[in-house]
Amino acid sequence: MKEILERRYTLTPFKKEIKGLKDAFRRASLRNLDSMRKRGFRPKNISYYEEVILGEKRYEELKGFSGRIIGYFCTFIPQELIYAARAIPIRLCSGFYDTVLVCEEILAKDICPLVKSSFGFKISASSYFELCDAVILPTPCDPKKKLIEILSDYLPVWVLKIPQDKTSSSKEIWLEEIKSLKERIEDFTKTKLTRQRLEETIKLIHKRQTLFRQLYEIRRANPYLMGGRDFLLVIQTSFYDDIERWIDKTEELCKQLSKEKTHFKTDEKIKILVTGSPIIWPNFKLLNIIEDLGAEIVCDDLCSGTQSLYNLVEPDEPTTDVMLGAIADGYLLSSVCPCFIENNDRIDRVLNLIEEFRVGGVIYHSLRLCQLYEIESHRLRLILKEKKIPMLTIHTDYSQEDTEQIKTRVEAFLEMLKR
């Protein structure tokens, strides 16, 4: 097993306790929830997800967990491997504004807010980040790459190098990466990832993904059963929540909703597709604006949304090599991350969503300083223009300052769609 990080210079990690961070997070979360609760119909057990996203209970629960907790970023990390080692994976991508400010004390301002926000949590030693024994980082973009280096002073960091494309030679490299990650996890947790364990966890995650797809299909049949924000809330709780409990609760939710189907009529709302940079709790600013203005977010292709639970790992047979291959394929091939040289898959995905959900307009969330998504918006805009589908690009970050401004723009866009 080759070490990727040499760590020639080890620095003392910069840490800074910030008071009231927890309260601020709660406040930001409640602000979203208040806005979401204004919606006429919400499924009954959505309150469970609200509680999980607030995080306090789950945090205590994880604190008491005796095994390893492994943090990860992005949708590229095979959670199967982590679960197979009886460890708990926690996705650390964050959308919290206050920690951005914390981070800006040591890092420059011109860095993507997601990285700053997540790293801020580490600096201020709060939230789930503190509980993690190790963190796995992929290399989709430059900020994440350098985050690896910076974080290596704080805790063990494992790197998963993402290839530049999805050709067969890249697939081989990626498979090697997955295999070495497996060894690393085995080393770290002192548990062997046996064939049976892999099989079990693949089944477990497969169950979660199919359940999610079930929910997705329910919403496709009738998007108004559940708001777009509620849908994203359900997805994003899965980043932190106990997987089996999440499955149980979501099964319940699906049952509830499929019963509800008959009573609920489609009304005349504008259907919106949200795409672009990740939108992560509690940064639901844009979504709040859209849905408060009466439009409905029917689908998304966000890596923090649908994409994180949609893709399946489907091994043809339960042999170790085939399973590892399926894991590698499952996480690489259907990804729509803009880190690949050619990203036709994303365009196809968006076009397909537009067709399947009969979307009225596309809103492109472009996180400030997230260059990859920003660049890609250009091609997508031209292609959508050709197909006569209106698209609005919103450049923004995690701060609340530009709320009014965005509101005016979205309002005008929705007005145009109505006509």
Partner: protein
């Protein structure tokens, strides 16, 4: 969730078809299905001379020379594989027909109806035979299932080697034609022509399978070492077939029968269709394909996803998780479509 739901309907149907066909082809004569020497299809009539010869054979006359004076069996007309003379009914392979009709320089007027039958079936179904009927395919699938249950590792041929095997298939096909032509030279004495007569059957891996499971007492139709080089080749092919324990459908990549059918795959009425937009490029279809074909996965522009090396097993359609992304098409109708499974 119902418990007894068939998760992979196409594969399920295919296994049933394979088992039935295997029994029919290999042990059909035991099942009360009378082994016939003549075609039951009205438009395919055996030539008169042959009928007479058969009659005299039945009466006990000893016929010198080859037992097959005329070729009149493609695949449906009842006539078993020559290694299953006692127990089999019809054959799934028509290479014998190709070879025989050349060897005996059968006049085209007698061949017409057979070629017509072959063409109709090939144009309708393409390589459907390979996936659903062929007993050799079934044996390979069984070998692979055994490995799967022992949880042994699955191996793959490299792309390069796959190409080599395919080229070998072409070579084999061409040499069969040439050898058959050689055996047809009337001036040569029979003892010489005999050496290359029916070379396709002499090279076939089946020589080491069917006589042992079908014929009691075991009787080789050829003395195994009488034809030196061909026997060596057939041993090699038999070994290749055994490789399917580790590499799915290893023999199918060479099989000349499959090769001939594969020319009809592109235009066959039984076809696969793909909705390019719906495909998420998840790659699942590559992993489940017995021949690890990438074409289904790669195609993102056209709806037509038929290509030579597909055996119409439709596993890709069984496994594709995108609703309506892949479809089985037959005569313009959708028979089956991929769907997301709960």
């Amino acid at each position: 969730m119902e418990k007894n739901k068939i998760r992979r309907p196409m594969t399920f149907l295919r296994r049933i078809s394979q088992i039935l066909c295997f029994i029919l082809i290999v042990f059909g004569a035991f099942l009360g299905i009378k082994k016939q020497n003549l075609s039951f299809l009205p438009f395919i009539e055996a030539p008169l001379e042959y009928k007479e010869q058969l009659k005299s054979e039945e009466k006990g006359a000893v016929i010198l020379g080859p037992a097959y004076p005329q070729a009149f069996d493609t695949y449906l007309p009842v006539k078993s594989c020559r290694f299953l003379r006692q127990v089999g009914t019809f054959r799934a392979c028509f290479m014998h027909f190709v070879s025989e009709s050349i060897s005996w320089l059968t006049p085209p007027r007698l061949l017409f109806s057979h070629i017509l039958l072959f063409l109709i079936l090939a144009v309708l179904l393409g390589r459907f035979w390979c996936g659903w009927v062929c007993p050799l395919g079934f044996i390979q699938d069984i070998l692979n299932i055994i490995r799967k249950n022992f949880k042994l590792r699955r191996f793959f041929f490299s792309e390069k080697f796959k190409k080599t095997l395919r080229n070998l298939g072409y070579l084999l096909f061409i040499s069969i034609i040439i050898l058959s032509l050689l055996s047809a030279i009337p001036k040569l004495p029979w003892s010489v022509r005999k050496q290359v007569y029916l070379s396709v059957c002499q090279m076939c891996p089946v020589r080491f399978i069917f006589p042992y499971i079908g014929n009691w007492p075991i009787k080789h139709n050829f003395s195994p070492f009488g034809y030196g080089i061909f026997t060596m080749i057939s041993i090699a092919f038999f070994l290749l077939l055994l490789v399917s324990f580790f590499i799915k459908r290893s023999w199918c990549r060479v099989c000349p029968s499959g090769l001939l059918l594969s020319f009809f795959n592109k235009g066959s009425f039984l076809a696969k269709r793909k909705e390019p937009l719906k495909c998420t490029r998840c790659g699942i279809c590559v992993g489940v394909c017995p021949l690890d074909n990438k074409e289904v996965y790669l195609q993102k522009k056209k709806k037509n996803i038929d290509f030579a090396s597909c055996i119409h097993c439709f596993r890709c359609i069984d496994f594709c998780p995108e609703k309506n992304c892949l479809k089985v098409y037959f005569l313009g109708k959708t028979l089956f479509r991929s769907k997301f499974k709960r």
